[in-house]
């Protein structure tokens, strides 16, 4: 009925976003290669140096040494080897290109965990995000819950985001990193298997659980 209005507001949001993103950065090139110059090349050199691939000066000039470093980086990271910082290499190096949009890949478990983090805790402080991921992993390890990440996440009623569709939102970089940090053993929840938002929950079952800690707007409990 009011699809036009919706479309119009979407168009405005899109425009604003585009303006916002272009406003953040100078318009980047489509690719960087032998002979390129500028701040972005310096940034590429800085990253290559920090990760151990480049030993020359950070001078913003894409010369032979930079090209060799890019090739070495591409070999080690499984990217097509051409010595050019195109879309894929730029994304790995975290350097913006005018046409790069591909997403970071990760294993299905990490990705599912990141979707839970994004759906449940995207407005929370970083430790609160890791804690939500840790709760899922603590459930996997607990005898009272299923034994895989997907069974825990999709257990009927366990996470409300599964029902309202937020589980299907694409997680952002922070959520992915939080999922990986939790997989690596960091557990800010202190071993919690439940959490709730006290402002939104009136379940006396939840309120009766022994509290471990509070991070942001979530209370984590045993």
């Amino acid at each position: 009925m009011n699809t036009k209005a919706v479309k119009r507001s979407l168009a405005i949001v899109y425009l604003l976003l585009t303006v916002f993103f272009y406003g953040c950065d100078a318009v980047p090139a489509a690719a960087y290669m032998f002979g390129s110059r500028g701040d972005q090349v310096a940034e590429i050199q800085r990253r290559l140096k920090a990760w151990g691939y480049y030993f020359g000066a950070i001078d913003g000039i894409y010369g032979k040494a930079t090209e060799d470093a890019v090739i070495w980086f591409q070999i080690n990271n499984g990217i097509r080897i051409d010595g050019i910082v195109g879309a894929q290499t730029a994304e790995k190096l975290g350097v913006a290109l005018s046409s790069s949009s591909s997403k970071e890949t990760s294993s299905s478990d990490v990705y599912l965990l990141a979707k839970v983090v994004y759906g449940e805790a995207r407005g929370e402080p970083y430790a609160g995000k890791v804690a939500v991921a840790a709760v899922v992993l603590n459930r996997v390890a607990s005898s009272s819950f299923p034994n895989t990440i997907s069974k825990v996440v999709y257990q009927p009623g366990a996470f409300s985001i599964v029902y309202d569709g937020q589980i299907n939102l694409a997680p952002d970089a922070d959520a992915l990193r939080a999922a990986r940090d939790a997989m690596n053993g960091w557990d800010p929840s202190g071993g919690a298997v439940f959490y709730y938002n006290p402002a939104k929950t009136n379940s006396s079952f939840m309120w009766s659980r022994p509290v471990i800690c509070t991070i942001g707007s979530h209370v984590f409990c045993k």
């Binding site: 920090a50 970071e104 009272s144 009623g157 970089a173 990193r177 053993g185 071993g191 379940s203 006396s204």
Partner: protein, 438 residues
Amino acid sequence: MKRIYKIIAAAAAGALIIGLSCFTIILDAENKTLKNQIAVSYQKSFDELVSNMDSLKVKLLKLEAAGGQNQYSALLMDVWRQAADTESCISSLPVCYQSAGTLTQFMNRTGDYCRYLSGKLANGQPLTSDDLKQISSLADTCGEISNCLNESWKNGYIAEADFNGGAFFTDDAKAGSLDFSNQQFPRLIYDGPFSESVENRQPSGLGGTAVSRDEAQKAACAFTGAAGISYVGDLNGKIACYGFAGEESGNPFSIYVSKQGGKVLWYMSQRATGISALPTKDRYAQLADIAKNFLKSKGYGDTAASYAQFYGGMAVINLAPLQDGVVLYPDLLKVWIDISADTVAGLDANNYLMAHRERTLGAPALTEADVKSKLNANMSVTGVRLALIPLDSGEEKLCYEFSGTLNANQYLVYINANTGTEEDILMIRDTNEGKLIM
């Protein structure tokens, strides 16, 4: 004229009502189809649960009746598999946590226990009369649950199925259609990942005495080198801690110090997310050295870097402390390093605080040459060292750790340095984020 308007208005209203009714009918039909699809999948899980629970009981009774080792091991493996299937059924049903949790735990422990017994059998230890008593009580409980499920099944379980998905955290366990809140479950005595003894394990690495909040704050200041630290709250987990926050060279950090012993549970400084890319080997060696030096300066002694992951601009390096050259995997420490800044961004010492203690390792009874023959003949060995490894049961075993390759795959094989038993096999997988040990 006015009449025409009235007629038009009436016709429009009529059309609107008819249209809306049709729309509602279509919506309702769609809704019903969707509901049926969901109900059918619930019904399937429930039917499976009913029949699985019954055959579990039968298999446990057969175990009681079996006279020979052959049947024991076959039936034990079968119970383990079936318990896992049953656990799957429970986890896909809309049941409140109080019921789902207790049933899931019962299934996990039943399966886990039978796997443990089958492992014992494989090592030449026969089932004891205590084991058979436990099996008998498991069969009884399965029978009780099975009766209860059959009753629900007869009453048409699905009629009560909850579609709004809010049933998991009900205030009243009886609100769900399956109520096991009063069911008695046998206490199983054994050692496995889901056993009570392992789940209730207490930290052994805290030592010392209880510290006050002020003392903990001093420890946090000493650890981070930051002066301005403020208390942010307690952490009442297995390792109870005081939490503090502060800032160091512009990076806000959090640190948790145990109330017992005043040890750091974790320290994490907030850094901007960076790129996820593999560094070069040489660069990794540098990063590992930073981590080792950091741990040494914090009093963890010498450590060996085991494997690492690289994401978000960080290297997360796993390091195991060394005791007389033996790698102590139960005490694994994790260090986060900001690759661009060459600085330590975080430490997780949970494993260390849980497992670390003074250990007398003793000299291994077998030599490397003695146990090498136990390896797969086709494996080409690239390295060997002594390591202490944690087992599922919570025990620790002194093993020779053989690094080897077979068909281009890399493995770590652990052979008990005292008995020659092959205790564990791990596979090393190269991913685009570093090495994964599985």
